[in-house]
């Protein structure tokens, strides 16, 4: 009797929790849902409501009947938007590659090769994670102008790579430390040098850690706004966040919301794909601070 009671209570709590979890999820993702459904909505519903709202509006946006792809076509046929999109892809991809290279070598050094000051370097690198980005604005702007890479994708890549270092360095270092040193010792006895052991033995075993580094560096570079705002001034080198934001402010009074949501959806797509690819490992990296807020 008691046993049955308890079991039913637990089942009850679980069902209640599942319902509560569903409610929370709806509250969290309804803006994302609206972004997609707004992008698929008929353009009329954003125009006819100018005078005063009628009851159909909300339902029409929630469940576009029929969903139309016109706004996505509008966005993608815009040469400027395509330019921004390609620039973002270039910057994010090169940042990702560069961050992997720099952080793999650095993390291996910190994990295995003891030298004076290695602890301090690791700690300072971690501390840079909390530096306010506005603190870097003026000197970085001066450097970028002084070196002659102002208004270029290079300036963005170099900055974003640095921002990706603290987290990636610490994550990869922990990853390397979890591998037994005997692996390299064996390879080195067989005649491979340190670097040979790193590339042929350690790296193939570290794919999950390196993949996480890659994903987080990509997201960081894809989403960054402030330095793209300061460093770039011509449309040729603008990335999506700046490009789209400027287009919106230019239109200010007459923003075409359906098209804006289509642009937002396309801009979010690579990130959604990255999250789906990452799954469990991604969540673990995220809780460790992989993406800054």
């Amino acid at each position: 009797m008691i046993k049955r009671l308890r079991r039913s209570r637990i089942l009850g709590t679980h069902r209640r929790r599942a319902v509560l979890a569903l409610v929370i999820t709806i509250l969290t993702i309804f803006p994302v849902y609206f972004m997609v459904s707004g992008a698929l909505s008929h353009p009329d519903i954003f125009i006819t409501r100018l005078g005063g709202q009628t009851e159909g509006g909300l339902v029409d946006i929630l469940f576009p009947r029929p969903p139309i792809l016109q706004h996505f076509q509008t966005v993608l046929s815009d040469a400027l938007f395509r330019r921004y999109l390609i620039n973002s892809l270039i910057v994010a991809t090169i940042t990702m590659a560069l961050a992997i290279l720099v952080c793999t070598l650095g993390a291996y050094s910190l994990a295995r090769l003891r030298f004076p000051g290695s602890n301090m370097i690791g700690r300072v690198a971690l501390l840079t994670y909390t530096v306010p980005s506005v603190l870097l604005l003026i000197p970085l702007f001066k450097i970028v102008v002084g070196v002659g890479i102002a208004d270029s994708l290079t300036s963005l890549v170099l900055t974003y790579t640095t921002f990706a270092i603290p987290f990636s360095l610490w994550m990869l270092r922990a990853f390397f430390q979890s591998l037994p040193p005997e692996l390299e010792d064996a390879a080195m006895v067989d005649g491979a040098g340190r670097l040979g052991a790193l590339f042929r033995v350690i790296l193939p075993l570290s794919v999950p850690g390196i993949a996480a580094t890659a994903l987080f560096a990509f997201i960081l570079a894809w989403n960054e706004f402030l330095f793209a705002l300061i460093f770039t001034s011509s449309d040729d080198v603008r990335t999506l966040p700046i490009g789209v934001a400027l287009t919106m402010t230019r239109e200010q009074t007459a923003v075409d919301w359906a098209t804006a949501m289509a642009a937002s959806t396309i801009s979010s797509l690579p990130i959604f794909i990255v999250v789906m690819l990452g799954q469990r490992g991604f969540v673990r990296g995220l809780t460790a601070g992989g993406v800054k807020g």
């Binding site: 679980h14 599942a18 979890a21 929370i24 969290t28 993702i29 803006p31 994302v32 609206f34 972004m35 707004g38 954003f46 709202q53 909300l58 720099v102 952080c103 070598l105 650095g106 050094s109 295995r112 090769l113 003891r114 004076p116 971690l126 840079t128 530096v131 306010p132 980005s133 506005v134 603190l135 870097l136 604005l137 003026i138 000197p139 702007f141 450097i143 170099l158 790579t161 921002f163 270092i165 340190r194 706004f225 402030l226 966040p241 934001a245 919106m248 919301w257 804006a260 949501m261 937002s264 979010s268 990130i271 959604f272 990255v274 999250v275 991604f282 969540v283 995220l286 993406v291 807020g293």
Partner: protein, 299 residues
Amino acid sequence: MGVRLSLRRREQLLGLALIAPTVIFIGAVVIYPVAATLGLSFFSENLLRPERGTQFIGIDNFARIFRDDLFWMGLKNTVVLTAAAVIGEVVLGMIVALTLNAPFRGRGVIRTLNILPWVVPSFVAAFIWIWLFHPQFGPINQFLVWSGIVDQGIPWISQGSTAMGSVIVVYIWKGLPWTFLVLLAGLQSIPEEWYEAAKVDGASPWQQFRYITLPSLRYILVIVIVLRTIWTFNNFDLVYLLTGGGPARATVTLPLNVYSTAFLQYDFGLSAAIAAFMVVVVLGLSIVVLKLSRIETES
């Protein structure tokens, strides 16, 4: 013996060579700029008055910002935004984490969906919410009008009385996923037996939370609070894109002050002083993080 020593030397040199790119990047892009900004905060440098050049003026910049109403406005708004957002995120994050810390079907999917606000680019987040808040076309106002709660759409982010509250809602929405994921990871590390034992002793759910869950999450909670505080305090893009600091400076924050002073008024010295003030605050918080994380790893 001599051979072994030189091997050690070689390892050290290789170590330095491998860490060199990291050091160069961080040195050039973070360490030097931080030092340069701190130094610049004691100089006057205004691009609109190039004939004056860069002059050492001691603490005049700080004296100026402390007399400036806009600075105090920014400081007040930054503190209000940060405090409200972090409290909201932690309280809600705890509720969500406790809810999701139970096995039910579809938990993985629900967790993945809940991450989305955190990873979505801030300009996308800002545009979605500007639209959601829109007085005429925004779904929030359409719902409020349709349900008869209000007669006319509320201009959430463009009127002074509701702007800051609305910005806080967006910050909580964006920050909640990270907070609850970290707390959830913490919850999952508490041994189930402790709760079993407490139940046997007749502890109520609240007592279990108060005497098992909260103490076990103590360090994680502190780290979550401090990190979210630092990140929100420093954040520029979300509020810049949502309101640009308006209306009538109702949502202007310190990062926005730093940006506009430097790149709209071209007063680099003054901007550096505001940034230097911010870093003092952030540095204090960072030291707390490091201390605590060391305590945690030692225990």
